[in-house]
């Protein structure tokens, strides 16, 4: 197997040739002055600006702020969303009360609430966290509901027959059964949370990587704009990979066939 590994790594890298092609094209059109550097600086210039930006803390600090907002919003959305989803799946009055509101709110472009949240919470952390929570709560609700509804009735009856109360039923039977579905929900909600944090910062200011991006654009620091975008891309990519690795560790027993192609 050791002998096979060498060529396989090479093969894997060779498969990324379209990215290399794109990078070369980018570098070429800029070096040949086909595009003004204000619009598109050479890739090498963008990459060269990364260490400096990192050293000055112009990337790390805003990124940490954005991630903090995304994380807090995601946790709130997770706790409330899972609870709501489980309730809607199993409790009649909760379904009657919440299902219509969820159905109405789900397709709405949540970004429209940003001015409302700015009014309520100001332009600091809280309005962004609220928008993140509102955006990413829906995948959790649906995941928890689907997961809990998929539990076989006999399993619930067996638990009830053994004297399990309603809250213990939610926490002890339905929640674990919904875990794989919740993971899929998290995989949808996580990019929502990050994108929403960046977008809210871009529109409303108040710091963060999104705010830094817009400022850089206003002052025509184009390499910084591209550098910020590269960092956003890398963060989203790494978080998704991390999530898949976690799933592989925790939920190895669960086949991944019902993964949303997202």
């Amino acid at each position: 197997m050791m002998t096979a590994r060498g060529p396989r790594v090479v093969e894997r890298i060779a498969r990324l040739y379209p990215l290399l092609l794109l990078a070369l094209l980018w570098e070429a059109v800029t070096r040949l002055h086909l595009v003004p550097p204000l619009f598109l600086p050479p890739l090498s210039v963008v990459l060269a600006s990364l260490p400096q930006l990192l050293a000055q803390g112009d990337l790390a600090m805003p990124l940490l702020i954005s991630l903090y907002r995304a994380a807090i919003g995601l946790v709130i959305a997770g706790v409330l969303g899972i609870l709501l989803g489980l309730l809607i799946a199993r409790v009649r009055w909760a379904r009657l009360l919440f299902a219509p509101l969820v159905a109405f709110g789900a397709p709405a472009p949540k970004i429209a609430f940003l001015p409302v949240f700015i009014l309520w919470f100001g332009i600091g952390h809280v309005s962004k966290i609220a928008l993140v929570a509102l955006t990413s709560i829906f995948p959790f609700i649906f995941a928890a509901q689907d997961g809990a509804e998929a539990v076989p009735r006999q399993q619930i009856w067996a638990a009830q027959a053994m004297g399990t109360g309603p809250w213990r039923l939610l926490a002890g039977v339905l929640l674990p059964a919904a875990l794989p579905a919740l993971f899929s929900g998290l995989r949808i909600a996580l990019p929502y949370a990050i994108v929403t944090a960046f977008t809210a910062e871009m529109i409303a200011g108040g710091g963060g990587l999104g705010g830094a991006l817009v400022m850089a654009q206003r002052y025509f620091e184009t390499p910084t704009v591209y550098a910020d975008i590269v960092v956003m891309l890398a963060v989203g990519y790494l978080l998704d990979i991390g999530l898949l690795a976690l799933r592989h560790r925790w939920l190895r027993w669960q086949e991944e066939s019902n993964d949303a192609p997202n």
């Binding site: 609430f113 940003l114 891309l233 989203g236």
Partner: protein, 255 residues
């Protein structure tokens, strides 16, 4: 009766909203009263401003979505049926799917200026990915025996695409369209908030900045209703197009 049950929670929300205001817990400059918002809504619906702005937003979003469909669905199908095309575009898509599409808007503003081209480009970009991915997976998931029996009955290469692949991959592809529609509205409105002279996103933002909170709430409500209506109409259309499928509509209901 079912419609009434559907409306009940909304009535409760209005009631709670009114109670918050009347009890003094939420002052009107933070939460305008139900009556004030209703009045603002009536005023908006009586005038032309809201129609113009929502119309502009919808026109941009639908244009971007249409361009996205024309580019994305054929690309997804081509990737699914050719290993070479998949090999080329696959890495590009993997590399860009984590990109927050709003982040590209400042670049588009730089390139195209503030206006229609930036809007449509941004919406197209956001719609492209779900369309490619869902149609790709849709075609890949078409059962082999279906393709084989079509081939055995003399279906040629071209006919295979529109007679077999298109209908067989219809559900995931339409789910992709519905997802892309949602993305279109988000990016369309976000782009308007960043840079635009017209559009419902701009209007809501303006009301917020000028302190006309009752109008801001009314405009948000109007937007939510319109988007809900469009999504529900699309869902009905999808269920009609897929009426031949096994009853699994709950799955299509959310995408």
């Amino acid at each position: 009766m079912r419609r009434l049950a559907f409306l009940l929670p909304f009535a409760l929300v209005l009631l709670g909203w009114q109670a918050l205001g009347s009890s003094g817990l939420a002052p009107p400059e933070v939460l305008p009263s139900v009556a004030a918002v209703a009045h603002a809504l009536a005023d908006l619906l009586g005038g032309s401003e809201i129609y113009l702005n929502i119309g502009v937003t919808l026109a941009r979003c639908f244009t971007g979505l249409a361009v996205g469909c024309l580019l994305g669905i054929p690309l997804g199908v081509a990737m699914a049926s050719s290993r070479r095309i998949d090999g080329f575009f696959g890495p590009l898509i993997t590399a860009t799917y984590a990109l927050p599409k709003t982040a590209v808007v400042p670049l588009f503003i730089l390139w195209f200026g503030v206006g229609l081209r930036t809007e449509v480009a941004a919406v197209t970009l956001s719609a492209l990915l779900p369309l490619v991915i869902y149609s790709y997976h849709g075609v890949r998931a078409v059962p082999g025996p279906l393709l084989w029996s079509a081939a055995a009955m003399g279906t040629g290469r071209v006919a295979m695409h529109w007679r077999i692949l298109l209908p067989a991959a219809m559900r995931p592809t339409l789910t992709g369209v519905r997802t892309a529609l949602g993305f279109s509205f988000i990016i369309g409105i976000a782009t308007e908030m960043l840079a635009a002279n017209l559009g419902i996103g701009k209007l809501i933002f303006q009301y917020g900045e000028s302190g006309s909170y009752d109008y801001m709430f009314a405009a948000v409500l109007a937007l939510m209703s319109v988007v809900y209506g469009i999504d529900a109409a699309l869902l009905r259309l999808i269920n009609h197009l897929l009426r031949w499928q096994d009853d699994d509509r709950a799955g299509a209901a959310r995408g």
